[in-house]
């Protein structure tokens, strides 16, 4: 440490503008300290760091030279003395300028005057001669004592301690598997993963789509975009798991057959990238950057059967309800729209509900599987809330502040819970109990914000894709073996509505 003292001293001596650390304080500074309320006595040697009780507790500075100059500098109560204890309401610079201005010569050549005027306008941003600035007098109201700026608190949120009640099941805190996802696009508005009912996880990495077989661990590259600079913006499996819909940055919606690994259709109707897709039996809905949602009937040649115009900015969340009656959409314009499946009287689609309460982009949209008409939505960085809605009455059933950007919400089919994926600062997944909205568990591990979540066909595992270029599989909804047998009995084969071949 000694060499720093020496260095600091040397630098201080060579520079003529820094205050001399070893000199006694000037009279005016001494006076200020005496009358100021609270700062620690000057008796402390400049070399030792001081505890300033008045200001917010700062840790003592490690560089003695630095702390020396801190003590010598004016205390925070801007140069108050016993006549005027508090000068912060005064405009010292303005006063100084006005005082010294009077000494300037009155006679000036016209061009010089113009030049000065131009400078004044440039520096001040307005013409001082033409305008004046007014301020409502009286100090503006301050927040009550002891209020710490909430933003700092929420962005440095520490992990909440685990719930005192013991969880009735064991949720592993480590992921089951971690998969590599190189080149995954770190764009909040895209939907790059989806898990099929045939247990294939589709992942879009920049301009290619890979399929990962969960059962065997095999990886297949399904497709790659032909043109450079075109990337994939969304993927979505059809319910039966044999076709994959792919949305691209070149505004195309493609349909791929998995078995033959061939492209069946290339549907163009949008004029901007297609960030989100959702299936309702044979209808594929796509949301684009323009804010429009198109319905495509994939069985017929004229696929574009309807347009829903309810958003003025990019549509990032899109989900059909499980019974196919409503389509929920969330956009970058902070709106959530709920659309009916059939057109209204005028032949136009109009939303049955519009929710404006979110203060940020709504990408997380999910329907409750066990309660009809219940929708969960999550807001982006400016909002950070999860809201549960009843879409028939339009009421917000509950809202919870998650303190972090919400990218995705998934309801569990095995438990009465839902899981949400988050970004800065913890990049965690949170399991919530419904309807009490209490946290069941928090899953940490990702080192960058989570972008998407998707669930396995058996409902036990959740896959999360994050900006740290990994996919983590979390076995958080593992079923009790007894309950599992009951469930399996209840499941029966679902009939496929789509015919095997599509023209």
């Amino acid at each position: 440490m000694a060499q720093f003292l020496f260095e600091a001293d040397l630098h201080g001596l060579l520079k003529l503008d820094t205050p001399i650390p070893n000199a006694p304080p000037a009279r005016w500074q001494r006076k200020a300290k005496e009358s100021g309320p609270g700062p620690s006595p000057v008796g402390v040697s400049p070399m030792k760091p001081a505890n300033r009780s008045h200001s917010s507790s700062k840790t003592p500075s490690k560089t003695p030279g630095k702390s020396g100059s801190k003590i010598q500098s004016t205390p925070s109560k801007a140069g108050g003395d016993r006549y005027i204890p508090n000068r912060s309401a005064m405009q010292m610079e303005m006063a100084n300028f006005l005082l010294t201005k009077e000494n300037d010569p009155a006679e000036e050549s016209p061009t010089k005057k113009e030049q000065q005027k131009a400078w004044a306008v440039n520096l001040n941003g307005f013409d001082v001669e033409e305008a004046k600035i007014l301020r409502l007098s009286g100090k503006p109201q301050n927040a009550p004592e002891g209020y710490q700026n909430n933003l700092k608190v929420l962005y440095s949120q520490k992990m909440t301690p685990g719930s005192s009640r013991k969880n009735s099941r064991y949720i592993p805190s480590m992921p089951d598997r971690i998969l590599d996802a190189p080149e995954i696009r770190n764009d909040y508005y895209l939907n790059l993963i989806d898990w099929s009912s045939q247990n294939f996880l589709a992942v879009a990495l920049d301009n290619s789509v890979y399929l990962w077989n969960h059962a065997t661990g095999e990886i297949i590259q399904l497709l790659q975009m032909e043109y450079p600079d075109v990337y994939i913006s969304s993927v979505s499996w059809i319910k039966e798991g044999n076709y994959l819909a792919v949305g691209t940055s070149s505004a195309e919606v493609q349909l791929w057959d998995i078995q033959q690994q061939k492209r069946l259709r290339n549907m163009t109707s949008h004029c901007a990238r297609v960030g989100t897709l959702s299936w309702n039996s044979y209808i594929l809905s796509s949301g684009a950057r323009t804010g429009h949602i198109h319905h495509h009937d994939v069985r017929v040649a004229e696929h574009h059967v309807a347009t829903l115009a309810g958003h003025t900015q990019e549509v990032c969340g899109l989900k059909w309800s499980l019974d196919g009656r409503y389509l929920a959409s969330g956009g970058n314009d902070n709106l959530v729209n709920v659309w009916p499946c059939t057109q209204g009287g005028g032949g136009d689609f109009a939303p049955v509900q519009t929710f404006t309460q979110h203060q940020g982009a709504v990408k997380a949209v999910a329907w409750c599987p066990w309660q009809m008409n219940v929708l969960a939505t999550g807001g982006g960085t400016s909002d950070r809330h999860i809201r549960i809605w009843n879409v028939c009455s339009g009421t917000c059933l509950s809202a919870v502040d998650t303190h972090s950007q919400v990218c995705s919400i998934l309801w569990s089919t095995n438990y009465k819970e839902f899981i949400s994926g988050h970004g800065f600062a913890q990049n965690q997944l949170v399991l919530w109990k419904y309807p009490t909205m209490t946290k069941v568990a928090e899953l940490q591990g990702h080192t960058a914000r989570i972008l998407n979540l998707t669930m396995s066909p058996d409902g036990t595992t959740v896959a999360s894709a994050a900006a740290d270029e990994t996919l983590r599989l979390w076995r958080c909804f593992e079923m009790d073996p007894i309950k599992k047998k009951e469930k399996e009995k209840a499941n029966c084969a679902k009939s496929s509505i789509i015919h095997q071949s599509i023209r």
């Binding site: 200001s55 917010s56 600035i133 301020r135 109201q141 909430n150 902070n334 960085t381």
Partner: protein, 203 residues
């Protein structure tokens, strides 16, 4: 209010719209930047959005005074700019500066016929600006210390300073980064919004 939508914009109507926008805009800034505790804000519906306004009576009073005065000055077309200055309570350093430039069509007079611009179009424009203000929290640096805000109004030079108001300096930020947001216009008044913030010094 239904009738109003079909009428055009008059000078007085425009002044009211802009003053109202400032009131909601300032409330949004105070909420989003965390100047006041979020629990002191309540939600209201305006411009087809859910906005947050303060419930603190002193603050509401203060803002009402400013809004009323702004309405008058906008009507007389003598106000050029409204600035929200956010400075840290300790040391008084200016950390953020929201500047609303007002361009006024001085040829508009009270007895002119109403101008042709629907209220809905103006509302849509205002909505975009307010949404942008909300979204700025994604890039503005965190306000680490407790902050206070100040409102400055730039008026014409020969205006008589009313009671309760005093002259002030511009309170610029020393080393600032500026971002221009959207503007909106009622055809009589045009409002441009910019936010300037202190450039993060390299630690």
């Amino acid at each position: 209010q239904l009738g109003r939508e079909h009428q055009g914009i008059t000078l007085r109507g425009s002044a009211e719209l802009v003053a109202e926008f400032f009131s909601y805009g300032i409330n949004s800034i105070l909420y989003q930047r965390g100047i006041y505790p979020p629990e002191t804000f309540t939600r209201v519906q305006k411009y087809g959005l859910t906005l947050l306004v303060t419930t603190d009576p002193e603050l509401t009073n203060y803002l009402n005074n400013v809004t009323e005065q702004m309405k008058e000055w906008l009507y007389e077309c003598i106000v050029q700019r409204l600035v929200v200055v956010i400075s840290s309570i300790e040391g008084g350093e200016v950390l953020e500066r929201w500047q609303f430039d007002i361009e006024c069509d001085k040829t508009a007079k009270d007895d002119d016929g109403p101008r042709d611009k629907s209220q809905k179009a103006i509302q849509d424009e205002i909505r975009s600006v307010i949404r942008q203000i909300t979204a700025t929290v994604t890039f503005l640096p965190l306000l680490e210390t407790a902050c206070a805000f100040d409102l400055l109004i730039y008026t014409d030079k020969d205006l008589a300073v009313p009671e309760k108001w005093e002259e002030s300096g511009p309170q610029f930020i020393a080393n600032s980064e500026e971002v221009q947001l959207r503007s909106f216009t009622t055809t009589i008044h045009k409002v441009n919004t910019t936010v300037a913030y202190k450039k993060d010094s390299v630690p």
